[in-house]
């Protein structure tokens, strides 16, 4: 099946940055109520020379290969980037996943995330792939307050 590319299964079996770590500025817990998948996600944000930087994303995810791999890709792509860049990455990921298969994704922004392009053709699985990204959006809001 083209949905389960090797890259996705790699992330599923060896998720990048898994586990919950200190220090962190915000912790959120998101669930997918249709299947019971859960993710607890923490972000640590520090002030850099050019604005706030996501210095760590740590998480504990229970779920299907798509949701775990997507969260792993998230950690890989977002950790160490500016908050502004992280937000562009989230937007690019969401655009691809909600494109009903029309968008192949912007590899410059989402990296391995392009391997999840096939998910967009399966509406029931889009939520799985978005779970971690919705949690990250929420965590960044909480960590930085309303000015986001």
């Amino acid at each position: 099946m083209d949905l389960y590319q090797e890259l996705i299964l790699e992330h599923y079996k060896r998720p990048v940055g898994a586990g919950l770590r200190d220090p962190f500025d915000a912790e959120v817990h998101h669930v997918n109520p249709t299947c019971g998948d859960e993710v607890t996600l923490r972000v640590h944000v520090e002030q850099g020379a050019d604005g706030p930087v996501v210095t760590d994303v740590s998480y504990d995810a229970t779920g299907c290969s798509i949701s775990v791999a997507s969260t792993s890709i998230l950690a890989e792509e977002v950790t160490g980037t500016s908050v502004a860049h992280a937000r562009r990455t989230i937007a690019a990921m969401r655009d691809m996943l909600t494109s009903k298969g029309e968008s192949a994704g912007d590899e410059d922004l989402i990296g391995d995330g392009v391997a999840l392009a096939g998910v967009a053709k399966y509406p029931a699985r889009v939520k799985c792939a978005l779970l971690g990204w919705m949690a990250l959006t929420d965590a960044l809001h909480q960590s930085e307050g309303v000015q986001l």
Partner: protein, 431 residues
């Protein structure tokens, strides 16, 4: 002689009645539908009955004096009689709702309305307060859990629940402690939608009555699959939905003993359910109309009656025997695969046709995706029974469920497709 499963020839005839079963899915694969526990497909006879209602007698029943209204009312009430007979009840003990969820909410709200002095009934039986208890079980579908959580919250009563054993049966050893004179309602399922477990309804109803509690039965997974006679079950109230038994979406049924329904306060209010109305207050119509506010779901009732006639023509004993054979075939196949963990009891009379399982190392959503690619439709997730899945220590399961049109070949196709699953996810299995 005991009933036999349907022969291949009979199955061919049955399947020809269900137009959807001939469609193709996912790049021209035949549809293998093993999700009838979620919703069943509809035979032409049901679709035709609904269409005929709309084409010939469509009207707002129980109002108006024109010919269409007369014929529509007659069709609606005839449907009620047919559906009542299907479960061995008198027609005036059948209340139509939008679905089984609404039927259970109707009862749960009757209790909280009764506790607040609500009208339409006069029974202390429908009064709950602090110190009273509602007992449910850990294997309930959310539809028979959350309405009771909310009723307890509104009335101050306490919700308690009977746990499930690791084998997926109710832990009856706890019943004496949990079912006491404080218990006013014992709400439980007949057949678990996840485990397939068939609960000992008569015994549980008797135990409820012994402490003065009402027994409320979720019959969503039993009425479509085995012969049901409400007078044999001993419960006081029973709910099921039409769409799981070849009937249309949008109709459910609440059955209750007439004397009890007479005492039960109303839930939804408005048109159709009144006797007299002033600006200050209203009095209510007799049962069952007092529970049927709004323009009745007549076309759906006619469709559900046609579904009952269809099932009766097949013979519910044979439907049950057929699904029992399919269940055994699937359980035997799954048991041969040590990398699959089945939840629920072994095949037998205490086991209905819902088979849920875990493929070790692979999430249910991923299992479902591989099966879907082969044209096989199953349910994945917690099946609206999240607390049960927590008790089973399974985040999610894959469920296959059956109907009269399900064939042994479809069970075999499921098993064959499952054999591909571990390799897709790089999970090594021992044969």
């Amino acid at each position: 002689m005991s009933a036999t499963p349907f022969s291949d020839e009979e199955l061919g005839r049955i399947r020809a009645d269900f137009p959807i079963l001939s469609r193709l899915v996912r790049a021209d694969k035949p549809l293998i539908y093993l999700d009838s526990g979620a919703t069943s497909h509809k035979p032409r006879q049901v679709l035709d009955a609904e269409r005929a209602f709309y084409e010939r007698v469509n009207s707002a029943v129980h109002r108006g004096a024109h010919q269409l209204s007369e014929e529509g009312t007659d069709a609606y009430e005839s449907a009620r009689a047919t559906i009542a007979a299907f479960i061995g009840a008198p027609a005036d003990e059948i209340v139509f709702t939008r679905n089984a969820t609404e039927a259970i909410n109707l009862v749960a709200y009757a209790f909280s309305n009764g506790s607040a002095g609500g009208g339409g009934g006069a029974g202390d039986r429908f009064r709950l307060g602090p110190g009273d208890e509602v007992l449910v079980t850990e294997m309930e579908h959310h539809a028979n859990l959350i309405p009771w959580q909310e009723t307890c919250r509104r009335t101050g009563a306490t919700l308690r629940w009977l746990p499930v054993t690791p084998q997926g049966q109710l832990d009856l050893s706890e019943l004496d402690d949990l079912l006491t004179e404080r218990t006013k309602v014992f709400a439980f399922t007949h057949v678990s939608n996840v485990l397939g477990t068939v609960n000992p309804v008569r015994e549980l109803a008797e135990r409820a009555h012994a402490v003065g509690a009402l027994a409320v039965l979720d019959a969503c997974q039993s009425v479509p699959h085995l012969p049901i006679d409400v007078s044999d079950l001993g419960v006081d109230l029973l709910a099921f939905s039409g769409h799981k038994m070849f009937g249309p979406l949008g109709i459910g049924v609440l059955w209750g003993r007439r004397a009890l329904l007479d005492q039960m306060p109303v839930f939804l209010t408005g048109g159709s359910m009144i006797e007299t109305v002033t600006m200050e207050s209203a009095t209510y119509a007799p049962v069952p109309q007092k529970f049927e506010a709004g323009v009745p779901v007549a076309a759906q009732a006619v469709g559900l009656a046609a579904a009952c006639e269809y099932l009766t023509a097949l013979g519910m004993a044979r439907v049950h025997a057929h699904e029992q054979a399919l269940t055994r075939r699937l359980l035997d196949g799954l048991t041969e695969r040590p990398w699959i963990r089945v939840v629920g009891p072994p095949a037998g009379p205490e086991r209905g046709g819902a088979v849920s399982f875990v493929v070790e190392g692979v999430h249910a959503h991923d299992v479902g995706q591989v099966l879907d690619d082969a044209g096989i439709a199953v349910r994945v997730g917690h099946h609206c029974a999240w607390p049960l899945h927590r008790a089973l220590e399974a985040a999610a399961t894959t469920r296959a469920s059956f109907a009269a049109y399900t064939t042994p070949a479809e069970i075999d196709a499921l098993l064959t497709a499952l054999d591909q699953v571990p390799a897709v996810f790089g999970v090594e299995v021992s044969a």
